[in-house]
Amino acid sequence: MADPMRIRANMTGDKVEVKALMAHEMETGLRKDAKGNLVPPHFIRNVTVTHGGKTVLSAQWGTSVSRNPFLHFRFKGGRPGEKVTITWLDNKGDKRTDEAIIAGG
C-alpha cells in the first residue's frame, strides 16, 4: 500500500484551493537499473477529486508527471468543514484514496 497523500484544502474567497502531494515513484519505463535492465513503468494514470459526491477534477496522467506528483487547482461550491476526497489509480492497479477537511473561511 502506498503512503498517504498530503492534501490541503483551504477557502480562498468563495473558492476552495486544493493542493495535494502524492507518494509515487512515477517510473517511466525508460530508465535502467544498476545492472542495465530496464525498470518497468509504474505510474499513476488516473486522479479523481470529489466533493459532496460530485467530481471537481479528473485527470489522466502519463509517465512524465514528476515523481511524488503535485497537484494544485481551485473549485467553487465548497464550505469549511466539508470533505475533499482524492483517489489515484496506477498502471499496476494500485489505488489510494485520502481526504481532507476544508479549512478557513
Binding site: 525508460l30 535502467k32 467530481t55 509517465t63 512524465s64 487547482f73 492497479g93
Partner: protein
C-alpha cells in the same frame, strides 16, 4: 553527446515495446477508469491533438503557461496552465521533445477554475504546449523551457 542520449532513449523504447508485445509487462487489472492510451503513446503534438479528439488547434493568447524559462532540474519542472477561454472543458500539458508528448490531461467540470498546476519531467530543452478544449474547440499556447539537466533517467 545529445545524439547518443537520444539513441539510448530510442533503444529503451524499442525494448519496452517488445516486452509488452511478449506479454512480459502485463497491463493493470481491469481498470474502472478510462485512460487514453493512444494519446499517451503519441510522439508529436499533432498526433496528440488528434488522439484527444481534435483536428487541429488554434493559438490563443487567452491561455497562459506559468513555468520557469530555465529549469535546472528536468525531473521536476513546475508547470501551471490558466485558461481565460469561456467554457474551458479540459487542459492538457504536452512536451514536444519528450519520448511521449502528452504529460497530463485534466477534465475541468463546471464550477472548477480553468487552472491546474503540477510538476513534469523534461528530457531536454523543449517547447511546452498547453492545449485547451473550450466549447468543443481546441486552442493552445506554447512556451519554451530550457533544461540544464534532463529528467528522464538513463
Amino acid at each position: 553527446m545529445d545524439a547518443k542520449r537520444r539513441e539510448v532513449l530510442k533503444t529503451g523504447g524499442g525494448v519496452l515495446a517488445l516486452a509488452a508485445a511478449a506479454g512480459i509487462i502485463k497491463p493493470g487489472e481491469a481498470l474502472a477508469q478510462e485512460w487514453n492510451k493512444a494519446a499517451f503513446d503519441s510522439k508529436s503534438v499533432a498526433d496528440t491533438v488528434k488522439a484527444l479528439g481534435g483536428g487541429a488547434s488554434t493559438p490563443s493568447s487567452a491561455i497562459e503557461i506559468i513555468a520557469p524559462d530555465i529549469a535546472e532540474n528536468g525531473a521536476v519542472v513546475p508547470v501551471a496552465v490558466e485558461s481565460r477561454l469561456p467554457r474551458t472543458q479540459a487542459i492538457a500539458i504536452l512536451i514536444e521533445k519528450n519520448p511521449n508528448t502528452l504529460s497530463a490531461e485534466f477534465a475541468i467540470p463546471a464550477g472548477t477554475d480553468p487552472f491546474v498546476s503540477t510538476r513534469v519531467k523534461m528530457g531536454e530543452t523543449s517547447n511546452v504546449y498547453a492545449l485547451v478544449i473550450a466549447d468543443g474547440k481546441y486552442f493552445h499556447a506554447v512556451k519554451e523551457i530550457k533544461v540544464t539537466i534532463g529528467g528522464c533517467g538513463g
